[in-house]
């Protein structure tokens, strides 16, 4: 799958996403420039984390008006895959491609810490590699991740099943202490009604390799490039991840060892190019 990672001035997770897509999952990956007007036929568009334009007005607000965003909007409206991570999620909110808004974290400080997430639905391309209710561990690193909307809008969001990830404790229960940034209803990630646009604050690209001590994020990015559209469920992905497959030779520029869970998934995705 051809993947495009949009580089805005101030993006700083662009290289990390590129590394996972290109080196770990062995997909065709290119950088797109914020002033481009074409997505150059990319199937997946990633809006990466960082501080686009310094986040000086509001996080993601200037980026949402970049020339490339018109093309991103058309892509999303046509059902194309758009993934916004951290600052990218904030851009999707500012651009109106996802509902809601962000406030400063509850403690008014930047938070760099591992959190637990519960997978609320696994019928999306992005989440089909997980079990429903599965608890994942991922790093967050943001100052404005306190998701907010009106109660009516949140009710509608819940009803439509657009909450994809929620902050939970290690046992998978929603708890104020586990909702560090103070998001309404512990919301960590939401999708649009059609399910092709996903935004989340945690960083799956930073926990997609066994050597980093956590491979929980890889299935999300693997799903984004290889996952079936709506409705297939996670079973065949589970089989890929948990099945016995011979580990390829050690490669130092990618996942150094494919013996772990993330390693097996990476091998499966890289080995099953369509």
């Amino acid at each position: 799958m051809k993947c495009g990672i949009v580089v805005f001035p101030g993006s700083n997770c662009d290289h990390d996403v590129y590394h996972v897509l290109k080196r770990v999952l062995e997909q065709e990956a290119i950088f797109l420039w914020h002033q481009d007007t074409s997505l150059r036929e990319c199937d997946l568009v990633v809006l990466p984390g960082g501080f686009s334009y310094g986040d000086y007005l509001r996080a993601g607000s200037m980026a949402a008006h970049s020339p490339i965003m018109a093309a991103v909007r058309r892509h999303a409206e046509a059902g194309g895959r758009v993934l916004g991570i951290c600052n990218g999620f904030q851009m999707l909110l500012e651009a109106g491609l996802l509902p809601g808004a962000m406030r400063r974290n509850r403690n008014l400080r930047f938070l760099s810490v591992d959190v637990h997430l519960r997978v609320e639905r696994n019928d999306l391309v992005y989440s089909c590699g997980y079990r429903r209710g599965e608890v994942l561990r991922m790093p967050i690193a943001h100052a404005e991740g306190n998701y907010v909307d009106t109660d009516a809008a949140l009710d509608e969001l819940e009803r439509a099943g657009q909450v994809v990830f929620r902050y939970v404790d290690a046992d998978g229960s929603v708890a104020p202490a586990a909702n560090l940034n103070g998001s309404k209803r512990s919301i960590a990630g939401v999708c649009n009604a059609r399910g092709n646009v996903l935004g989340l604050m945690p960083h799956p690209e930073r926990c997609a390799e066994d050597v980093l001590g956590n491979g929980d994020g890889l299935a999300l990015l693997a799903g984004a490039v290889r996952g079936p559209l709506l409705g297939r469920g996670g079973d065949e992905w589970r089989a890929l991840v948990e099945g016995e497959r011979p580990a390829p030779a050690r490669r130092f520029d990618a996942t150094p060892d494919r013996g772990g869970r993330a390693g097996r998934l990476a091998a499966a995705v890289a080995g099953s190019k369509s």
Partner: protein, 753 residues
């Protein structure tokens, strides 16, 4: 192109004489020498330039004579001290560029901007070498933060931590480690030392050299404003009651501009048309132009009318001394200016030609068509005065070093909890959770461990980073303290299996004009240099921060050491999915044996036990046996390479019991064991010791290897359970991990309120 004849004063400028020179911090001799060098009285602009170049910060005039003791070469060193950052070969075609710098004075006056611009400056030092920054460390020292008297200090802690975080997080460089200490000697003068490391292919290294007569000099980045004027001079003076008024000399940072400047500069350097790069740090345009020209044996002609300004009314004096942030100078090949301008404009940055390189070794500055400065470059930069300041041990040294017998603890568990509950030994998560530590997706072991460990994408290697110093040891005996700081850094790297490849440092001291401080500086450097030679670690860059004192009260001598090590063959250490736990410092695998390595002994001079529990800071600091330290480190590296170890943790402040507590807290897995030590010895800070864990099947092999290396080893017990249980001579320490964690985790949040 410039008018002939000597430069003349501009209308409205103050008259230059010995009095004005003294106000600029020049001694009568320095001023006399300057007049002689020029053959006339300097202009106001020239006086400003000379005062910046002669400042302690730029000239190292009081420390140069001692710094020469450091070893600076090894087979790995590509660039030693003198460049913006030192560069070492880390194998597989890659090099690492790194340096540490202080931003103490600005951070005390204005903590948020002071600390933020400290990070900005050190990042620019690294990327001007052509290296992409991939990691930061921060070493911070604060004063008393308790009670009503600590209110100002809590404000400083908060501001510094926010400043470092907001800058580094925005630029996207992870802060992967560091250290934070508290001591009343920093009440009037905190220390903020920032370290950055970048990597690039060996053939891509750049240097800050102006060469090739006629080549254009380009100015890039932010416009020049009035902020930070005379920052370098301010950083070379002690504080007094007037210091508040110096707030305008603190620069204001813009991390977003830094980020685009970083990307644009790396693009420009890759384009092949750039010959030399230098950032404008301390002393701004003055030091960048003069230092670049000096390195190239060249001169420069600069037209100050072409320097982009924030407001038109800036004088030449202000333009040359402004420390506005996020500015760079490029020297390009003749006719290639436009290529650089286009690369920068793609990133939304402006670049303009402000002058040319010349071949006559002089710096000529014009403004409004008139010559305002015409000075020889090399004598001002390399010929700055060098002082061998009178040095003498403090009068009370003998009394200071008299042993005060430590009181044995009635209740070792209670003493442990009190230690873990101090900000000094408590959890630092409140600080490092405000720093992004995982961006760039290389962090295997982040903040809170002995050494941070990063994987190096595209190679089988890992990098280990640590920063260390013990100011109390240095105060009691600066030579031993200097040795200890280096030895502890090497030991911390060895616990991760890393071979040290280079070191940088920040030497934070009081006024060198005080013979006692000059003595501290000389002795500390001697001790560090001895240890560097013993471990074969070159010093490749560094920074000296003197005049850290307020109203005559100097800080504890604080020679911060930051060291970088290479783990060649990261995957040899164990299974990929377990490496982050293997390399951390906690117990995680039930059934593992816990071994204590190194010589036991009672060492309490400057110890955390005496200092934090009894308020005693006296005696001789722990002896440092460099040979024994080297043997321990060699054993640790060997055991790592063979894949035997499931964990390793060095013994430092607080001794054995604190180290064991840290190990059980890390993953919430306890231990049960026994030692023959006395209750007091549980808190001894005898050096050259470490804990290791390994599977029972490996223990015999390990003991045999330890014997081969001449390192004493003893089996303390077994990993397991949810308590720390350690029998000692006369009793048992038995504490629930949850209780230990609770006091440890709350120590800092409670103190900072």
């Amino acid at each position: 192109m410039t008018a002939p004849g000597p430069p003349a004063p501009l209308a409205g400028e103050p008259l230059v004489d010995a009095g004005l020179a003294a106000e600029h911090g020049l001694t009568p001799d320095e001023y006399g020498g300057l007049c002689e060098l020029l053959g006339r009285v300097p202009t106001y602009t020239e006086l400003g330039i000379a005062s910046a170049l002669y400042s302690e910060h730029c000239s190292y005039k009081s420390s140069k004579i001692h710094l020469r003791r450091f070893p600076t070469r090894s087979r790995r060193v590509v660039h030693g001290p003198g460049e913006n950052a030192g560069v070492v070969d880390i194998g597989h075609g890659w090099v690492a560029a790194f340096k540490m710098e202080s931003h103490n004075h600005p951070s005390f006056i204005e903590p948020y901007q002071g600390a933020a611009t400290g990070v900005g400056g050190i990042l620019r030092d690294v990327f001007t070498m052509g290296a992409r920054p991939i990691a930061c460390l921060d070493s911070l020292r604060f004063g008393d933060i308790d009670g009503a008297r600590g209110a100002r200090m809590r404000h400083l802690v908060d501001g510094v931590v926010r400043g470092i975080g907001d800058y580094g997080n925005c630029v996207g460089i992870p802060t992967v480690g560091g250290e934070t200490g508290f001591h009343s000697s920093y009440n009037g003068n905190i220390l903020v030392n920032a370290f950055a490391l970048g990597v690039c292919r060996r053939e891509r290294v750049f240097t800050a050299v102006a060469s090739g007569a006629g080549n254009p000099i380009l100015y890039a980045g932010s416009r020049t404003g009035r902020d930070g004027i005379h920052g370098a001079t301010m950083a070379s003076e002690a504080f007094d009651s007037e210091s508040e008024a110096k707030r305008p000399t603190v620069q204001v940072g813009d991390p977003f501009t830094e980020k685009v400047l970083l990307e644009a500069s790396l693009d420009a350097m890759r384009s092949g048309v750039v010959l030399g790069v230098q950032d404008m740090g301390a002393a701004g345009l003055t030091s960048s132009c003069f230092e670049m020209a000096a390195r190239g044996g060249a001169g420069v002609d600069i037209d100050l009318d072409l320097v982009p300004l924030r407001e038109a009314s800036l004088t030449p004096y202000e333009i040359m001394l402004s420390e506005s942030q996020e500015r760079m100078v490029f020297v390009t090949q003749k006719g290639q200016e436009q290529a650089v301008v286009s690369i920068l404009s793609r990133w939304g940055l402006q670049a303009s030609t402000i002058g040319r390189v010349t071949d006559d070794g002089r710096a000529r500055l014009t403004f409004g068509g008139r010559k305002v400065a015409d000075m020889p470059v090399e004598p001002l930069v390399d010929g700055a005065p060098v002082y061998d300041r009178p040095a003498a041990p403090p009068g009370d040294l003998v009394r200071r070093q008299e042993d005060v017998a430590p009181e044995a603890p009635d209740d070792p568990l209670g003493a442990l909890k009190r230690l873990l509950g101090t900000p000094e030994l408590g959890d630092k998560a409140w600080i490092y959770q405000q720093y992004d530590s995982t961006v760039r997706s290389n962090t295997i072991v982040g903040p809170g461990a002995d050494a941070a460990v990063l994987r190096l994408k595209g190679t089988p290697s890992g990098l280990a980073l640590t920063s260390d110093t013990n100011p109390s040891y240095c105060w009691l005996d600066p030579r031993t303290g200097g040795r200890q700081a280096v030895a502890e850094a090497v030991r911390n790297l060895a616990t991760a299996g890393a071979e040290p490849v280079g070191m940088t440092n920040c030497l934070n001291f009081g006024s060198p004009e005080n013979p006692e401080i000059a003595w501290q500086l000389r002795e500390c450097i001697s001790g560090m240099a001895d240890a560097c030679r013993a471990f074969d670690v070159p010093v490749i860059s560094g920074n000296v921060s003197l005049y850290n004192e307020t109203e005559g009260e100097a800080v504890r001598p604080t020679p911060t050491v930051a060291m970088v090590g290479v783990i060649d063959g990261l995957m040899d250490l164990g299974d990929a999915a377990e490496i982050h736990r293997l390399l951390g410092c906690g117990f995680w695998r039930p059934g593992d044996r816990v071994l204590l390595l190194g010589n036991e002994g009672d060492e309490f001079g400057g110890s955390a036990y005496q200092r934090l529990l009894y308020g005693v800071e006296a005696g001789r600091p722990p002896a440092v046996d460099l040979r024994a330290e080297a043997a321990l480190c060699a054993l640790l590296r060997r055991a790592r390479r063979t894949g035997w170890l499931s964990g390793a943790h060095d013994l430092a402040e607080g001794g054995l019991l604190v180290a064991l507590a840290e190990c059980v807290i890390a993953w919430g897995l306890g231990m049960r064991g026994h030692t023959g030590a006395s209750p007091l010895s549980l808190f001894s800070e005898a050096q050259g010791r470490a804990l290791v864990t390994l599977a029972p099947a490996r223990v015999d092999d390990f003991f045999a290897t330890a014997e081969e290396f001449g390192v004493p080893a003893s089996d303390l017990g077994e990993v397991g359970g949810d308590r720390l249980v350690l029998g000692y001579d006369g009793g048992v320490v038995d504490g629930a991990i949850d209780d230990l964690r609770a006091v440890w985790a709350q120590a800092l949040p409670r103190a900072v309120g």
